[in-house]
Amino acid sequence: MNKREEKIIEMLSEILGIEDIVDTITLDSNLVNDLGAESIDFIDICFQAEKIFKIGKVQATDIFPDGLKNDVEFSEGKLNKLIREYPYIYGELLDKIKSKKSYEPLLTVRAISSYVEWRLANAK
């Protein structure tokens, strides 16, 4: 796990009140189903990510596509559209989506990490 990922997990433990980080939070933890995040927590995640990584303003919809929780039907066409709209979907995150044939990885810790990595790499 790299420094960025460690910082994200530490940030999530603070926001979501999770003390036992080692056993609870992994890159593949689902923010909602595994870590119990609710709407207000997603706002907090974006705010804290702005501060910790100094990446400028972040909206929840910049990371987490709208309607993701309800849209379970996977298709290559939809994935390609998402990749165009969300350029942080690449590398291991994209591999996970493809192998699982599900958008669920976009609600995991890995998605935040990938987004932060992309923002830092594309900082002006």
């Binding site: 979501l16 009140g17 999770i18 003390e19 207000i40 706002i43 907090d44 974006c46 705010f47 804290q48």
Partner: protein, 411 residues
């Protein structure tokens, strides 16, 4: 028409400048222990407004709530003091009533009515709007505290927040009382909370000359005394579990107190200057509601803020309602011991009334030496006094000209 239900109190929880455990708080009250202290450097923002003392409540810890999961406990850490105080009080009251599980709350469809102050989100003062955590905006809603309380305590029944200055807590109890009395609800958690110890409120009360500028915590709060010079800020929260007597009996709950009367009024005269007429009307309406006469009341837990005008007008109101008997009935103000806890004061006073009836003792008016031409009634001077009584009344009034009184009966 369905017959009215008798309404009893089966649970008490609190955070006050004199502590958390209500038996301990009661013992401190009747021994005259002072809950007001000198403000230190961590309150520089307050001190600059000529406010040097306050009833500061201790920080709460949720570590001892075994039935609360770690996730909820951790989330509580980042909440503001008022939210923590009301959640702590609510959980304690439910625990005291033997209703501290989600299953209990679901079974009785328990909801909560909370009286609280305005939400000025003072803790974000000095941080530009763009730099604030976006969730700061939610804190501007006074009902958010009740929302958090409902989540932590699993309260899924009726919910409401009353923002009505210093009568908010009294009205939370009163409205819950009425809902249970008329059979709309079986059990409700009712409480009040306020924390006005901030730069904004200190500036406001100080500039309106309503707060005491005394440097001495031992003597600053002196309701009805001739040398009173303003209210002393207090932080606090208190919750009561109210339920129908039938329900309490069925559950085998320990009945701690009984509520029998509730009355309200508005002065319709002045926003700041309280009026004896409105106060008298609230007391009369509470007496009518309880189908009692003034002579039935054995003790008055007064609003007694230690301001020149309130204590004068309240004394006049007591004379108006109680007539000759006004000179005899014992009167004391809990604010003389813990300061003015604003929206929470009516609930703390309700607790005081319940304990007074149970122990047949009333606490004294700390710092009352002698009154004046208006404040010339039987304000209890000693730390406590033994009083045989079957009923007592609790008075509160607030900015805007609102008044609210509750009457309690010996169990």
């Amino acid at each position: 028409m369905q017959s009215k239900q008798e309404v009893v109190v089966t649970g008490i929880g609190m955070v006050t400048p004199l502590g958390f455990e209500y038996e301990e708080v009661w013992n401190k009250l009747i021994t005259g222990e002072n809950g007001v202290r000198r403000l230190g450097r961590d309150y520089e923002e307050i001190i600059k407004h000529d406010i040097y003392v306050a009833g500061v409540s201790p920080e709460v810890s949720f570590d001892n709530f075994e039935k609360l999961d770690q996730r909820k406990k951790s989330k509580l850490k980042n909440m503001n003091k008022a939210t923590k105080m009301i959640i702590y009080s609510g959980l304690k009251a439910l625990e005291d009533a033997g209703l501290d599980t989600a299953v209990d709350c679901e079974k009785y469809n328990i909801g909560s009515i909370i009286g609280t102050g305005t939400a000025l989100v003072d803790r974000y003062e000095g941080i530009s709007i763009d730099e604030r955590n976006p969730s700061w905006f939610l804190e501007t809603y006074p009902n958010i505290m009740n929302g958090y309380l409902s989540i932590i305590a699993s309260l899924k029944g009726y919910g409401s927040t009353i923002v009505n200055a210093c009568v908010g807590g009294t009205q939370a109890i009163g409205e819950a009382f009425k809902k249970i009395q008329y059979g709309e609800e079986e059990i409700l958690l009712a409480g009040g909370v306020d924390d006005k110890l901030s730069n904004i409120y200190a500036s406001g009360f100080s500039r309106l000359k309503m707060s005491s500028s005394s440097y001495y915590p031992e003597i600053a709060s002196r309701p009805f005394d001739e040398n009173r010079n303003g209210l002393v800020f207090g932080q606090g929260a208190c919750c009561l579990v109210l339920e129908s007597l039938d329900c309490a009996k069925k559950r085998g709950a320990n009945v701690k107190g009984k509520i029998v009367g509730y009355g309200n009024s508005m002065d319709a005269e002045s926003i700041i200057d309280t009026s004896s007429k409105g106060k008298a009307k609230a007391m009369r309406r509470a007496l009518d509601d309880a189908k009692l006469e003034a002579k039935d009341i054995g003790y008055i837990n007064a609003h007694g803020t230690s301001t020149i005008i309130n204590d004068k007008e309240e004394s006049l109101a007591i004379k108006e309602v109680f007539g000759e008997y006004a000179n005899k009935i014992p009167i004391s103000s809990t604010k003389s011991l813990i300061g003015h806890t604003f929206a929470a004061c009516g609930v703390i006073q309700s607790f005081v009334c319940i304990k007074s009836l149970e122990s047949q003792k009333v606490h004294g008016n700390r710092n009352f030496k002698s009154g004046d031409s208006h404040c010339n009634l039987n304000y209890v001077k000693s730390a406590h006094s033994d009083v045989k009584m079957n009923y007592c009344i609790s008075n509160t009034s607030g900015l805007g000209g609102c008044n609210s009184s509750l009457i309690f009966k010996k169990v």
